[in-house]
Each structure stands twice: as C-alpha cells, then as structure tokens.
C-alpha cells in the first residue's frame, strides 16, 4: 500500500511537488497556530454532594443474613454529606458484577460512580462481601475488594465497603466501620436508669456495656479501641473505671476524695488524664500512670480546671478553665508548667477535643442563641460554629477528622447528632428510648 503510494508520488508531475509542499507548509502553519490551548479558569463550583449509585448487592445463596448491604453503604455515604445516592427506582439496571456495568447508562442517570457487589457464603458459614467501584465518567474501575467474616459481621463488612469507597473517591479514610460509645438515661428522677452503650458509628448494632441505677458519665476510648474509661457513681461517690469492651472485665482506677472525673487516655494508652477535686473541692488536672498508679498534678489553680484532652503527640494537654473569669480552653505541657490560653472568642469555650491530625480543636461555645459546637483552627485561631442547637454538648471527632458527633437536646430530651467539619451536613442518629448523651467516637479498627 505504502509502496504503491510512493510510486504514485514519484510519477506525479514535478510542478505538483512545490504546490503540494506549499500546501503542507500552510497546513503545518495552520496547525501551529491553533496549538496553544484555550485557557479557561474556574474559580467556583457547586457545593453539592457527589452523585453515586449503590446497586443492591446480590444476596448470598440461601438468603444469608438478609442484610441490605447496599442500603447500609448508601446510608453511610449519604450521612457523610459528601455523597448523594441515586434512588433505586431510578437505576437503569441492577448489575452485581463490574462486567455488567454499562458506564454510559449510569452517567446518563447522573451518577459519577457506581458500586456493585455481592454476598456469598464461603466455607464454614463465613460470608464474603465483594464489591467494585467504577467511575462512570472515565469508565475506570477504582476499586475491587473482598471482606470476609461471620454472618454477624455482615454489617461491619458493609461499613468497610463504605470506607473503601469513601477513601477511593475522597482520598481520606472513611470512619464508617468505627464505633461510638454513649450514655443512655431512662426514666425520671429518682427512678432513673443509666446505660453505657457501644454501637456502630451509624448508631446501629448497640451493645450494653454497663447498666446502673446511678449516673454514668464521660466515656473515653483507649487508643487501641479495646478499653473504655468512664465515670460511675455506682458507689454513691464518683469513681473512674476502665473496662475491656469485649469481655466486660473492668477495674476501678480512681476513687479519690472529692470529684473523680473526665478521664482521657494518653496517645500511648499508658496514662489517664483526670480531673480530681481533692478534699479541698477545687478541681485540677492530674495524670495517672495506669501501670504504676502514680499520680502527677498538672495544674494548680484556685479556679476550676477540668475536661483534659491529650494532644495527638502526647506532649501537651488541652483543658477547660475559668481562671480568667469565664470558661476558656488552655494548653499545658504534659510535664506541667504554666498553661497557655488557646480560645479568645466569646465568653464560653469548653470541653476541648482535638482532631487526630492535631490541627483542629472542637469545643462547645456560647454563640448567640445557645451552646453550640464550634471548631477552631489551631494554626490560625479561626473559629467556625458548626451546629445550630440551643444545648449542644460533648463534641467528639471521628478518627478521620471529617465529622463530629455531639449531643443535643430537643424537646427536653437528649439525642445524638453528627455534623461534618464544614458544618454543611448534619445527621441525627436513630431515635433511642430515653435520652442519650456523652458520645465518644472510637478510633479506627475497633
């Protein structure tokens, strides 16, 4: 073919050559002229969540655990505020394998991503959950993964699918397969009933950790997610306990005179920071070594110092103090010394919690109409109020720093809510019996 063309070219009349060359030169010139790309600048966008379709997973033969895995994933992703799921009735098809996905159909349905998957029973009653994540715009498969476990862990597997999808698209680890602890209060004074509960991060799958007729307060997760420290008034006086979540095994670590409260685990899990009132009744911050039982005093001030929280590097602690007349947040070295004031906006900033990367401080702030959850950027001091309630309390960061859980009071009854750190997405956790409060978000891998 080429040879023929060359021969043909040779037989052309010579005068054709210059004009042909001229044409080529002009063509090249034209091509060069348009070579520079058209420049466009985009400075704003839409604050809409990412459209995604989570197709119902194929159930295991024999029905499996009957859990709607895709439904759990959809709830997780939508709850983060970063995703908006395509309603099932608008799905163009129900593929369960990546080969069956027609990307154009899903793109046409407005979904940038599609998740398909299936549940299968493998040996010894173990279930396997497989899923694929496909970008419908590019046709690229972003993830293919399998999670296995006993039928009882199917919900956890679903959360792990959510985590993987979240991470693949946003580049941040999802915190769906984590747990929360909170306190549930039922009944009215004096016949109240207190329960310490551990549940999935979406509020499902609750497990009773402690049941008491006396107040339970301030649950705190150990860094490895195995232990919970909490305050219990079961002996009429306050005491700090640590309990192994899986077995219920527990021990009393502080039942000193006066207040024993607000336990916080050091990042290495070896120490607990506590608020101790002592016989004088003036609360200060102490650090208790869990192995040696030795106690170190960090603050000594006539004002109230309470609610300690370790910085992620373990070198300092944040706490609340009213030493300047109103509650504000201070930072003190883990070796003690003079505390440094951190918050300056408003007359009430309390209950500090630090994000895992150490860049942001969540707190309760009195902002106009009420006590609300706010976040302060530690580097700049910039504060933004996230929640809109009247009595929002006890903020706790998700381990990925993307969301906070906190307690709120509506109609006189306490409930739990989450809010994204940009303040755009809030979610109320499923209504429980009674009132719930004091949430604590556990670490990854619990």
């Amino acid at each position: 073919m080429q040879r023929q063309a060359a021969l043909k070219f040779k037989s052309w009349r010579p005068w054709l050559v210059p004009s042909l060359m001229l044409a080529i030169v002009m063509g090249a010139g034209a091509a060069r002229a348009v070579h520079a790309a058209l420049q466009i600048e985009i400075t704003s966008g839409v604050r809409d969540p990412i459209p995604i379709a989570i197709v119902p997973f194929a159930p295991a033969a024999g029905g499996g655990a009957g859990l709607d895995v895709a439904g759990v994933v959809q709830h997780d992703l939508e709850g983060s505020g970063r995703f908006k799921a395509l309603p099932r009735e608008r799905m163009p098809a129900t593929p369960t394998r990546v080969e069956a996905i027609n990307a154009a159909d899903w793109k046409g349905a407005g979904s940038d991503y599609v998740v398909v998957g299936r549940v299968a029973a493998i040996e010894n009653g173990t279930l396997a959950v497989d899923f694929d994540l496909v970008n419908t715009l590019t046709g690229v498969r972003l993830a293919t993964q399998r999670f296995t476990g006993p039928p009882g862990a199917l919900r956890n597997a679903a959360h792990r699918v959510s985590d993987a999808v979240y991470q693949k698209i946003l580049g941040v680890r999802g915190a769906f397969a984590t747990r929360i602890a909170y306190v549930s209060v039922e009944g009215t004074v004096p016949a109240q009933h207190y329960q310490l509960i551990v549940a999935d991060a979406d509020g499902e799958n609750p497990h009773l950790i402690l049941d008491s007729r006396f107040p339970i307060m301030s649950p705190a997760w150990s860094p490895d997610g195995q232990w919970l420290a909490y305050v219990s008034f079961e002996s009429k006086l306050s005491g700090v306990y640590v309990q192994l979540v899986r077995t219920g095994e527990r021990r009393l670590v502080s039942a000193r005179a006066g207040i024993n409260g607000a336990p916080a685990w050091s990042p290495d899990g070896r120490k607990l920071a506590l608020t101790l009132g002592g016989s004088s009744g003036n609360p200060d911050i102490y650090v208790l070594d869990l192995t040696s039982q030795s106690l170190t005093r960090l603050t000594d001030d006539p004002a109230i110092d309470t609610e300690p929280e370790w910085a992620p590097d373990g070198r300092s602690l944040y706490f609340t103090s009213d030493r300047a007349g109103s509650p504000q947040i201070y930072q003190v070295s883990a070796n003690g010394g003079h505390p440094k004031r951190i918050t300056f906006e408003g007359n009430y900033n309390a209950r500090p919690r630090v994000s895992a990367d150490g860049t942001e401080l969540a707190m309760v702030t009195l902002d106009g109409g009420g006590y609300r959850i706010a976040v302060q950027e530690l580097a700049t001091g910039a504060v933004r109020t996230l929640s809109h309630g009247h009595l929002d309390e006890s903020p706790s960061f998700a381990p990925n720093g993307a969301t906070l859980i906190y307690s709120q009071r509506e109609g006189g009854r306490g409930s739990l809510a989450t809010i994204s750190v940009d303040g755009l997405t809030g979610l109320r956790l499923k209504a429980q019996q009674g009132a719930i409060c004091d949430p604590a978000w556990g670490p990854f891998g619990t």
């Binding site: 210059p18 001229l22 070579h35 420049q39 990412i50 459209p51 580049g171």
Partner: protein, 277 residues
C-alpha cells in the same frame, strides 16, 4: 496571546524560507531546461533524406563514349647526322629560336600557371580563412547571442522571482491584515466561548470542602468537534484526592462542552485552571 504571536512569526519565517527554497529550485530547474535546448545532443546516427530517383541515377552512370584513338606519331627518319646548311642553320636557329621562344613561352606559361595556381591556392586559402573567420565570427556572434539570451533569461527569471516575491509579500501583508482584523473580530467571539465553557464547568464542579482558596490545579483537556471531552489529564495540582477527582469529574460532567459561536474558532486543546476563591 504572546505565545500565539510568536508561533505565527515562526510559521511565517518558516514559510518564507521554504518559499525561497522552492523558488530557487524552480529557477534552477528552468535554467537547466533552457541549457538543454540550446545545445541539442549529437544524435549517434545522422541521416539525410534524399530522393530515391537521384539514388537510381547515381547507381547507373552513363556509359562512356569510345574516343577516337590518337594517331601514332610517324617514326623518325634515319637521316644520319644532319649537316647544317646556312639555310638549315638559319632554319635551325629559327627553330632554336622558336624552340627557345616556345620554351620561354611555356616556362612563362608554367610560371604563370604556377603563379596562378599559387594565387588560386592563396585565394582558396584566403577564402577558406575568410570562411573560417566568418564561421568563427558567426559562432562567436551566436555564442554572444546565446550568452545574451541566457543573460536575458536569467534577468527575466530574476525579475520573475522578484515579482513573485513582491506578490507574495503583498499576499502576506493582506493575509496578516485580514488575520489581524479577524483576530479582533474573533476576540469577542473567543471570549464568549471561553465564558460559555467556564459557566458549564462551574455548574458541573461539585466543589469539595477541601477545595479552599490557595488550591490551584491545571487540567489539560482534549475535546473533539461537537464538544465531547475525550481526554483529561491533571497537571500541576496542590489539591487532595477529592479535589482531583472532583475537577476531573467536573469536566466530564460538563461534556459535551458548548460549541464556539463561530465554528472556525474551535480548538481541541483546553487548559483549565481550577483556582477556587
């Protein structure tokens, strides 16, 4: 725009160079052609067309007429040694004289003939020389004429080239002027197109919370006529994964991109900068 102008100048320079080269090649080729016509190659076999009848005549020459045989001279009489008589002496002398006269005449004639011959030869030589000179002169003249013709041809070629150059320059000037006018005319249309694309991508960009001020990401996008986006590649970008995914998705979601108001403005390559404020 600066880049575009320099590109155009490079194109023009390249085009000029090539045109020059083409012209040179054309002129050279034309001159070679002329040269060849001036000195036709000697054919290996030359032939002259002659009449066949002539050839026939030549083949059969007329038979020679037998000429009358000359009478042999009478044999000399043996008369013995002649005895001169006064008469005879006088006769002899007369004869001698006549002989001498005749010899002289003959000598003279011979001399004359020789002279004539020499003259003739000389004349011939002179004529030949003259002819040769004439031929040489003619050749020289012809050569001169040819040279002049060649010179004229070269001059004409040069003139042609100059004319062509001028025409080309004119064309280029008018093209440039036209292009300039078009650029001005198209400037507005191009800006319109840019803002149309910008608006569509802005609507399509689901800006993640991490796309804060200070984020600056460049996307190189290829579209085909009709506006369908066929390729997106992320260049320099200080955003996180969410930002990267979102800007890539934004361009694909905006596909097909709006067409330019004037189809001739279409460009395949777009450089899109995401610079949230």
């Amino acid at each position: 725009m600066v880049q575009r102008a320099s590109d155009r100048w490079i194109s023009i320079a390249l085009s000029l160079l090539l045109h020059g080269a083409l012209l040179a090649a054309l002129v050279y080729g034309w001159m070679m052609f002329r040269e060849q016509r001036r000195t036709p190659p000697t054919p290996p076999i030359s032939a002259t067309v002659v009449d066949a009848r002539t050839l026939k005549g030549l083949e059969q020459p007329p038979a020679p007429k037998p000429a009358a045989a000359p009478e042999p001279p009478p044999p000399p009489e043996d008369v013995g040694p002649p005895q001169p008589t006064p008469e005879e002496k006088a006769q002899r002398e007369q004869v001698e004289q006549a002989k001498e006269q005749k010899a002289a005449e003959e000598r003279k004639a011979a001399e004359r003939a020789a002279a004539e011959k020499v003259a003739e030869e000389k004349a011939t030589a002179q004529k030949a020389a003259a002819e040769k000179a004439a031929a040489q002169k003619a050749a020289a003249a012809r050569a001169a004429a040819e040279k002049a013709a060649a010179k004229a041809a070269a001059e004409r070629a040069r003139q042609d080239e100059q004319d062509r150059k001028e025409r080309e320059a004119d064309l280029k000037r008018s093209l440039a002027a036209e292009e300039h006018a078009e650029v001005q005319r198209n400037g507005a249309a191009l800006a319109t197109w840019q803002s149309m694309i910008q608006a569509k991508i802005t609507r399509a960009w689901l800006r993640p919370p991490t796309a804060k001020a200070g984020i600056n990401c460049i996307l190189n996008v290829t579209q085909v006529p009709g506006g369908e986006v066929t390729k997106v590649s992320i260049g320099a970008c200080n955003g996180d994964q969410a930002v990267r995914e979102s800007i890539e998705a934004a361009v694909y979601r905006a596909s097909p991109l709006p067409p330019p108001p004037d189809p001739s403005l279409f460009q395949r390559d777009l450089e899109i900068t995401f610079k949230p404020d």
